[in-house]
């Protein structure tokens, strides 16, 4: 294996986290190597981007599952089997990572999230949190996070409006909210009638032209309907490729190597010494020594690389000891109500990934949980992403899924259906975790990540409750026919559609219960930083990227401190 010259910092994965770290470090004069397993990307690649089949259904921008996937089982009694083709999680690949194919909904988590254990116990007593739910505080408060959120939002140009019920903001959103369409106005009117406080979803699809503090100028969203699963041909959707990565490149301090798949982190048991990566075109392997190793791949590979490299202690669900793989969490998306209109057509073929309206009233602890058998909550919302025709064939229940009736009904309602949706928090449970699969391997012979996960009682109760709210709002809007999904079915790796995976390398104030400190520096190897939604001790009801971005800025501050003065930062 060819050993390359040692570098100060090596970054593994060039999505949002890797891009932000690269940008902040290179601006400070630090030379970094960025390793990305996929290809390079640019805006003009997407002139043929409005291709639903290629980008959405053939997963053009996603990880090639023939090389690597995850295995899943709902519980320890089952044998975990590989996700052989895309059903649920769509894992990004290439420069920009998931930051290229995301929808762009960019929230902050709530003050409640960061101190969830303390605040819940303070308000509802010590017994409110059942012992099997591993809720813990994040080790820092919302007020400490606020400046990093502000920095991320300014860099990305997030469009939105201030919400009274959420954490205090030092500044308004850098750009105003997205346009309101008739369906969003219907949601707005109905929720106001019911006494709620609707607001436009904060969006990384720019509502107006914007120049960020790095001098990057971008144009406004055209509502063309191709965000989720797609790259933006305008650069209107904030993406590392049009924000932080060009800034890092311009410094001359970023050595970005694409088609470079990191297989393991080299270490002496106390510190990392570098990484081994393979050129994905030739298969040749390289050793890249480094003073600091920064893992910024997706949740799954952050966890898998640590386990395969034997860094940190794997979580053991029987004893509760160990931290790597602990507190894996997802979200619950059941509970929605669908409105069918017989005589109204909306221009639903247009839209944007973060075009939507939501009420804050049932998020976090913004409503009383004293008599409820679940904690946290959900964002209740109507969105208008653009109803592409392969993916959207709404039919009232009871309609066959093929044949004459299917065709008739799916065409009848193609422009005459929208939803009041619920995106709920999923709280960590002792039996939900990530570890290495004993059987299945990747193309390099390394074990795949095994996910043991199912929705918990808490999740199911939350969905039941939220389904009543979505139904109430749908009825207030009024439609010819309303259907409500009242129950959360078991987790299905082939069907559920959400890529908001969190946990596995969680942050905290205590090395016994967390893997990284609040700078995302590993307790067990102080020159390893593990950045991403893998650091979330639980998943909130909001989309994760805003918090992931804020944490990346905090981590970059930590890494710069560490370069000045090595050792534990806390």
């Amino acid at each position: 294996m060819k050993k390359l010259p040692k570098v100060p910092v090596v970054i593994v994965g060039m999505g949002w986290a890797g891009g932000i770290i690269a940008s902040e470090l290179t601006k400070a004069g630090v030379e970094v190597v960025g390793l990305e397993r996929g290809k390079d990307r640019q805006t003009k690649d997407y002139m043929m981007g409005h291709d639903e089949l290629r980008y959405q259904h053939r997963a053009e921008l996603m990880q090639d599952l023939s090389k690597e996937t995850i295995t899943h089982r709902n519980n320890e009694k089952m044998k975990a089997l590989p996700m052989r083709s895309y059903g649920t999680f769509i894992v990004g690949d290439g420069v920009g990572g998931a930051g290229s194919h995301w929808n762009g909904q960019t929230y902050r988590f709530l003050p409640y999230d960061f101190e969830i254990k303390s605040l819940t116990e303070k308000k509802y007593g010590k017994n409110k949190i059942k012992p099997e739910y591993l809720l813990q505080d994040w080790g820092l408060t919302y007020d400490e996070m606020e400046p990093y959120y502000d920095t991320f939002e300014k860099m990305a140009g997030i469009s939105g409006e201030t919400v009274e019920l959420y954490g205090k903001r030092s500044n308004p959103y850098p750009t105003g909210p997205m346009l309101k369409t008739p369906v969003l106005e219907e949601f707005e009117e109905a929720t106001k009638n019911l006494g709620y406080s609707p607001y436009m979803i904060p969006s990384a699809n720019l509502s107006e032209a914007y120049e960020n503090p790095d001098g990057i100028k971008r144009s406004a969203c055209q509502y063309c309907a191709y965000c989720e699963n797609f790259g933006c041909e305008y650069g209107a959707k904030s993406d590392p490729v049009v924000t932080v990565i060009p800034v890092a490149k311009q410094t001359g301090n970023l050595d970005l190597r694409t088609h470079s798949n990191v297989i393991r982190v080299l270490n002496d048991g106390k510190k990392a010494t570098g990484v081994v990566y393979a050129d994905t075109i030739t298969g040749e392997e390289f050793e890249q020594p480094a003073d600091i190793v920064v893992l910024t791949s997706y949740v799954f590979n952050n966890v898998r690389l640590l386990l395969n490299s034997k860094i940190g202690t794997p979580y053991n669900p029987k004893t509760g000891k160990g931290t790597i793989g602990k507190n894996y969490a997802y979200q619950v998306s059941a509970g929605e109500s669908t409105l069918f209109f017989d005589d109204k057509e909306y221009n639903l073929y247009g839209g944007a990934g973060a075009l939507g309206i939501e009420i804050p009233d049932y998020t976090g602890d913004n409503f009383d949980h004293k008599d409820l058998n679940f904690l946290h909550g959900a964002g209740i919302r109507t969105t208008q992403y653009g109803d592409r025709p392969i993916a959207n064939n709404p039919i009232p229940s009871g309609t066959p899924s093929w044949g004459a009736d299917f065709k008739k009904q799916s065409i009848k309602y193609a422009n005459s259906t929208f939803k009041v949706k619920s995106q709920g928090a999923s709280l960590p449970h002792k039996d939900n975790y990530l570890d290495l699969d004993p059987t299945y391997k990747d193309e390099y012979g390394m074990p795949l990540l095994r996910m043991t996960y199912d929705y918990t009682e808490q999740d199911k109760e939350l969905v039941k409750y939220m389904s009543k709210i979505t139904k109430k709002i749908a009825e207030e809007i009024g439609a010819d026919h309303i259907e409500t999904q009242e129950e959360q079915a078991p987790f299905n790796v082939n069907k559920d559609t959400n890529t908001h995976n969190t946990g596995g390398v969680i942050m905290g104030a205590d090395p016994e219960t967390s893997a990284v400190n609040t700078y995302l520096q590993m307790w067990d190897a102080d020159n390893v930083f593990v950045i991403g939604a893998s650091a979330f001790p639980h998943n909130s009801c909001f989309n994760p990227t805003g918090t992931l971005g804020a944490l990346s800025y905090r981590a970059s501050e930590g890494i710069l401190k560490y370069i000045d003065k090595p050792g534990s930062l806390v």
């Binding site: 599952l65 089997l81 996700m83 055209q222 221009n347 093929w402 065409i411 299945y440």
Partner: protein, 255 residues
């Protein structure tokens, strides 16, 4: 950008048959054209598209409408089965006239048909319902097993080729296949094939026409989907429905 947006198109649509008027494909309610129509008519050698057809069936000049994977027999069974999934009706053409079977042919011939980006390492265990399919058979082979299965079943139970059956009988067979009751091969049940047939049919009706289906964008026209527009900022704000002439990706070539 090649926006074909015209003020005249900005109308609140109340006619479900609008696409037919627009496409000019009917004479006395009979829908003409389609792959077979193209095969039997004379190739005029001139440039044709749906807007120019005025009542006389013209040759299908699209060189893409040919088989790269199926045998002619396999194509016919696929065409007949897909038509039952997405039939012709008063709204417009079905799978057959949308060239869905051509689309399916091209997909199965593509790397996707050979499971190029699917995880194919063993062992292949029987999954729980929550775990997603665990099938070792490649998509292209599963599909061939499926259409052979349809024809075998038809011959066995109806003493007829599948393509010769009445629609109702074809539907009954497809329902049997959907339920997974038919074994296509040791360890391969018919539901996996049926799911693929259904998905591919929907895709073939609505994917960009460059893939071989959605002939003349008629799949999009039926549901008033505009295909690929570079900006829809104005339209999404309108209270009334704005019907746009669809554009395919070809309209963006050369920009």
């Amino acid at each position: 950008m090649a926006d074909k947006r015209k003020d005249t198109n900005e109308v609140v649509d109340s006619t479900k048959r609008r696409f037919i008027k627009n496409s000019g494909l009917t004479v006395g309610g009979l829908v003409l054209g389609g792959a077979l129509g193209g095969l039997v008519s004379v190739n005029t050698g001139s440039k044709t598209n749906s807007e120019e057809v005025t009542g006389t069936p013209k040759a299908d000049s699209n060189p893409n409408a040919a088989l790269m994977f199926f045998t002619p027999d396999q194509h016919q069974i696929t065409e007949a089965a897909a038509e039952r999934i997405y039939p012709e009706d008063d709204l417009g053409p079905g799978a057959k006239d949308l060239d869905v079977a051509i689309y399916i042919d091209h997909q199965l011939a593509s790397p996707w048909g050979g499971n190029d980006k699917a995880y194919m390492s063993g062992p292949f265990h029987k999954p729980e319902p929550t775990q997603g399919p665990q099938i070792k058979v490649l998509r292209k082979n599963l599909f061939l097993l499926g259409i052979k299965g349809l024809n075998d079943y038809s011959n066995k139970h109806y003493d007829s080729e599948f393509i010769e059956l009445e629609g109702d009988d074809q539907d009954d067979i497809l329902k049997e296949f959907e339920s997974g009751k038919v074994n296509l091969h040791p360890g391969v049940t018919s539901d996996h094939f049926f799911t693929m047939l259904r998905t591919l049919t929907i895709e073939g009706a609505y994917a960009d026409p460059m893939y071989g289906g959605n002939k003349d964008m008629q799949g999009w026209k039926m549901r008033k989907f505009p295909g690929s527009y570079m900006s829809l900022t104005e339209e999404i704000q309108k209270d009334s429905f704005v019907e746009l002439e669809p554009q395919s990706l070809k309209d963006h070539m050369g920009h």
